[in-house]
Symmetry: C2
Subunit: 249 residues, 2 copies
């Protein structure tokens, strides 16, 4: 029987800059009487990674540019928040009806360049981790050192999508797994050769994890057990469609 377990891990305290996330994750597992196994996957929300890395900005300390001021009026947004969003942005994809869709420096396309006011408090905003792959790889190595277990790490964030209502969790940083499962050239039971089927398993794993995380109940980590992922050293860049291949640019 193919079965995957997706388990939410609570953290009872607020994460602060400099906190050791790998130790906090292992404590959270211990609280649930769980021990890591080889082949487990840990999905971790971007928010606690950014908090531990000190990747927050206090809006009180932000001086908005003239352009940020102009845009903030157009979009009816805090001009300091707009300034932070513009700093995190490589390219503005769309800007209308109160929304800025940005391409971030990391290459993700999302609202507000991933700058987020929730779950940080005190007029602060969180930015996306500067290099989410690097953060994921460091966590994976630390957990390997502490436990001896060979696991995969996915750092996730919730983004909106064109055409569909609602947001879903996406992978924004990975370590230890191949994010795409390629069926091209494989043959179905009727002899038909699959031509275009590549499944974005890292995104599907991130989405599964969101179902046990929620936004308001201090569950920023999920353990996924039983999914036979392909081990690999790929970067999340493999999941970002290259501009010249993308019909939507």
């Amino acid at each position: 029987m193919k079965e995957i377990r997706v388990i939410g891990l609570r953290i009872s305290r607020d994460i602060k800059e400099g906190d050791n996330l790998s130790e906090i994750i292992l404590e959270a597992l211990k609280e649930e009487n769980l021990e890591l196994l080889d082949g487990d996957i840990l999905v971790i929300t971007q928010k606690i990674v950014s908090k531990a890395e000190g990747n927050l900005v206090n809006l009180k300390e932000v001086k908005p540019s003239e352009f940020a001021k102009k845009i903030s009026k157009l979009l009816d947004k805090d001009e300091r928040l707009v300034e932070v969003i513009l700093r995190e942005t490589k390219r503005i994809v769309k800007m209308d009806r109160g929304i800025i869709i940005c391409e971030t420096h990391q290459g993700f396309i999302c609202a507000n360049a991933g700058v987020d006011q929730s779950n940080v408090g005190n007029e602060r905003v969180s930015l996306l981790p500067k290099n989410p792959d690097f953060s994921a790889k460091a966590l994976r190595r630390e957990i390997k050192d502490l436990t001896g277990k060979d696991i995969a790490i996915i750092i996730s964030d919730t983004f909106g999508r064109p055409w569909r209502e609602g947001q879903v969790n996406f992978a924004i940083g990975i370590a230890g797994l191949e994010p795409l499962l390629n069926y091209r050239g494989r043959v179905d039971s009727h002899g038909y050769e699959l031509k275009a089927t590549v499944i974005a398993v890292a995104d599907e794993l991130a989405s599964s994890a969101e179902l046990v995380m929620g936004k308001l109940d201090n569950t920023p980590i999920a353990l996924i057990r039983g999914y036979p992922y392909l081990r690999g050293r790929a970067s999340i860049k493999k999941m970002i469609r290259r501009a010249e291949k993308d019909l939507f640019r």
Copy 2:
């Protein structure tokens, strides 16, 4: 502990027009010594729903239009396949580099209007179910009648996404659950009120299910147990962004 189990259910034979899917699903559960519980979710791939509903087209019987012939040369695709795609299409979103991105009559935006050659055989192609909500609701009612259990049904298909490599599973028909989880107006532990957070849980559930389904191992059904969904009578139309709200039209 918040835990979700995602279990793949195999079907050992090919689904034919007129097959009773609810009975086949219950047999597949029995094979695994599983009994349905109230609150379970069954995710079912579009392919077996379309097969049971006889929603297949034999390409040998398709007479392509002049427009289909012209497009098939441009895109280097079978002209009969292009004809079927055009019949299933309400609006062509993009057409380039061998790819037709269509809005289907049901309102989904996907490559080839959901017309698919895999896992059907014999020069046939499968179409999306004509009314996936109706199919889901009928299955839910039949399973309720057969077992007495109140469950949710999601019919799924794998679609590509702009900007990202790889496809993921989406919900295309639902019965018994609210597909969106709305956090708007709720307050985080720092007192910040969430403004724009609506999670597309039906899509995340569909994505979770794909991880145990695969494309080539006769596992077209997944049982999801332990996810506390909101019961509801919503249509999948609730997940399709209205044209006037969509920045990407």
